[in-house]
Symmetry: C2
Subunit: 421 residues, 2 copies
């Protein structure tokens, strides 16, 4: 029996989340005997709650194809965490009410940890209420911290971006260090897990003189004395020192450096964000070296211009497979996971994993991925990371700038009374 | 009569300064009847003073070709300004002494404003001392502030990088703004002239809803009240606001915002650099919006992975032409300038201009390039900027990362006693 479907994007977007959207949309179009209209929720789960639904069927095939090379979230995403079923049953029931009103039998939820949990709960309440729904989680997060999947779509492209950027900045620094800046610090994302910081490390060999020379992970408590000694030694040996720092790096008492050592501005406000300038001040205070720092922030997670081909392919594949699992394999409450089936040559495939095994878990850097002194990555880490960055998948350009697509995003007329919390 | 040559890189490097180096090297190799050995000075003019000279003739043609797509300064650069002839005659005489020792008849100096001045002085003292030298300035600066050239090699690639980055970050923000960050600020380089900030503006049409919505130029005194009103209006109209800010933006008394409103850290040090967090705090204080900020810093001037084809071609051409001017046209004390011979279609050629007309001048944004309210660029500015960003000139990749070349950089044995200042 033909049913409609809803697709929603959740949490921080990535350079390739729209490739997953394209995978879902193209698969739904191929399964046109089983799936009627695919709606996309505007601004993620909020669009379902408030019945703000986009009819994706009016989008041209050409534009859906261009989605594969467009960053951001094409339908809007949101940071909105549904509470537990007991605390907030009304919201879950509203979701089911909207599903009913639109004859929705498939729910594809594209997000990270929190979304996996939400997707699981939606699946559970549908079961409980006897509503026939196949809820599938399509993974996405630059943080690379989902379990049961070898890696997360979005991460490979950030990894390629930060490794490329720090290599380039390192070459800049190297050529100027005789008379100018001696220390350069690049701050990258990763509040809890150091995967992105680790990716910077791929730009250098373990014993190489190339940037980065030091990586500061959130998993390794910041040891100021050891850090200063390492910076000094590096500058004395190579003439300069390039440092990658994760935004979430913490001191020995577990407090983030950006909080514990943050500055207070003229208005008495705490300066939010920016661990790079704090690390720079530590270097300046103890060693006096001239420094520069950069904070990549959103640039890193939206840098579709230097996306990894492997990442784009996997992002598409997890979306496509999610639809297949629901339609062909009669699965629900699962996530499309990426499985590494071979290391050399790198091979991967998509397999379904139960959401119970994914939700509310977080994958940190294993200790053996970090060098003994805590300041770099090991070869085993490098072997894990490198294949994820391989291949260039360039967007089209027009007049010198990437020609990203903007969809019609036409909302359908509402059928229900407004949702009041 | 065959003479040797010296090439030196000066000041902040760019993503394409090595393309100029390749132009000089390949031209010297073609003029092998007139030019013997081409030495590259290690770390710029310091390498000439201290007789640290690299024999470029041992570098393979393949590696010289790869220089065209390698960022940083392949031979090292420096921030070292020679004083005036009267204040520091000894240094200039030392340069001539080194030229004599190596039978150097050609000096190619690759830099910005200060270097143009140095190159002119070297040319003058050679004349004065009756030493036959052809000193040619090869322009380079991401700041785009040299006069008598339509634009400066290095700028087009930064322009492409910042415009692409702010477009991508804008799409990220747009998709999240309903429940998350409302204001994003990207800090770009440009201490005195707002060319790089202006380049961000190419990512949006003048009346477009796309990022960036606001640009803060060093040429326009920062008007906090007008700025806050503009941010508020933009967020109310579009749901979010993307701001490009030049590091050199100043208040109405001409003091840089990053100095006048800078914060003081726990150690009592002034927080150096980073106008983006200061602008963010102003937004937070007056409007309360959630913000994010990024500081591109060295990433922008080393981002060879997204260089502009036009920029790469021009960088090569100014290097190549410099050699031709000296050898074929018997010119000295000139700079290879880029002349825009046609706007539509964009056409350019290289012409020599006298260094007297270039040195110690600085080109700012004309007022008619900036919109009336001072917060964006005009169409005439867009027409100027756009052709400079056109075309993609990708480096080769190996294992997912750009495969940049590292030259042999073999120093020749010294012939002179050490230079003592």
């Amino acid at each position: 029996m033909k049913k409609n479907a809803i697709y929603a994007q959740s949490g921080g977007v990535t350079a390739v989340i729209n490739a997953s959207a394209a995978g879902v949309i193209e698969a739904c179009r191929e399964y046109s005997e089983q799936i009627g209209i695919l709606y996309a929720a505007e601004n993620g789960i909020l669009g379902v709650l408030h019945e703000e639904l986009i009819d994706t069927s009016i989008e041209t095939c050409e534009n859906i194809k261009k989605l594969k090379s467009t960053p951001g979230g094409a339908f809007g995403s949101c940071r909105y965490k549904l509470k537990s079923l007991t605390d907030n049953r009304k919201e879950y029931e509203r979701l089911i009410e909207v599903f009913k009103a639109y004859d929705v039998g498939y729910f594809f939820y594209n997000g990270g940890n929190d979304s996996a949990d939400t997707c699981l709960k939606v699946s559970q309440i549908a079961n409980e209420l006897g509503y026939p729904l196949k809820a599938i989680h399509v993974p996405k997060t630059i943080d690379n911290d989902l379990v049961k999947t070898d890696n997360c779509p979005g991460f490979g492209s950030v990894a390629k971006y930060v490794a490329t950027s720090i290599r380039e900045a390192g070459m800049d620094l190297e050529s100027m260090c005789k008379t100018s800046t001696k220390v350069f610090i690049l701050e990258v994302m990763g509040r809890h897990a150091g995967w992105i910081a680790a990716a910077c490390g791929v730009a250098s060999d373990e014993n190489s003189f190339q940037a980065p020379h030091i990586i500061l992970f959130p998993e390794i408590p910041f040891d100021e004395t050891a850090f200063i000694a390492k910076v000094k030694q590096t500058v004395e040996q190579y003439g300069y020192c390039v440092i990658a720092v994760s935004e979430g790096v913490k001191d020995s008492s577990g407090v983030e450096l950006s909080a514990s050592q943050s500055t207070v501005d003229d208005f008495g406000h705490r300066q939010l964000g920016g661990v790079a300038p704090i690390v720079a001040q530590i270097v300046k205070k103890h060693l006096g070296y001239k420094y520069h720092w950069a904070v990549a922030d959103y640039l890193q997670r939206s840098a579709r211009h230097i996306a990894s081909s492997v990442d784009v392919e996997q992002a598409y594949a997890v979306g496509y497979a999610g639809v297949k699992y629901a339609v062909e394999d009669n699965l629900h409450g699962v996530m499309s996971a990426i499985i590494r089936t071979s290391q050399n040559p790198y091979k991967w495939e998509i397999q379904p994993v139960k959401l119970e095994e994914v939700a509310n878990h977080e994958k940190f850097m294993p200790r053996n991925f970090i060098s003994e002194d805590g300041f770099h990555i090991t070869d085993v880490c490098r072997e894990y990371l490198l294949p994820l960055m391989v291949g260039e998948n360039y967007p089209e350009y027009k007049n010198g700038l990437p020609d990203y697509v903007r969809l019609e995003n036409k909302l359908v007329a509402k059928k229900l009374p407004p949702f009041v919390k």
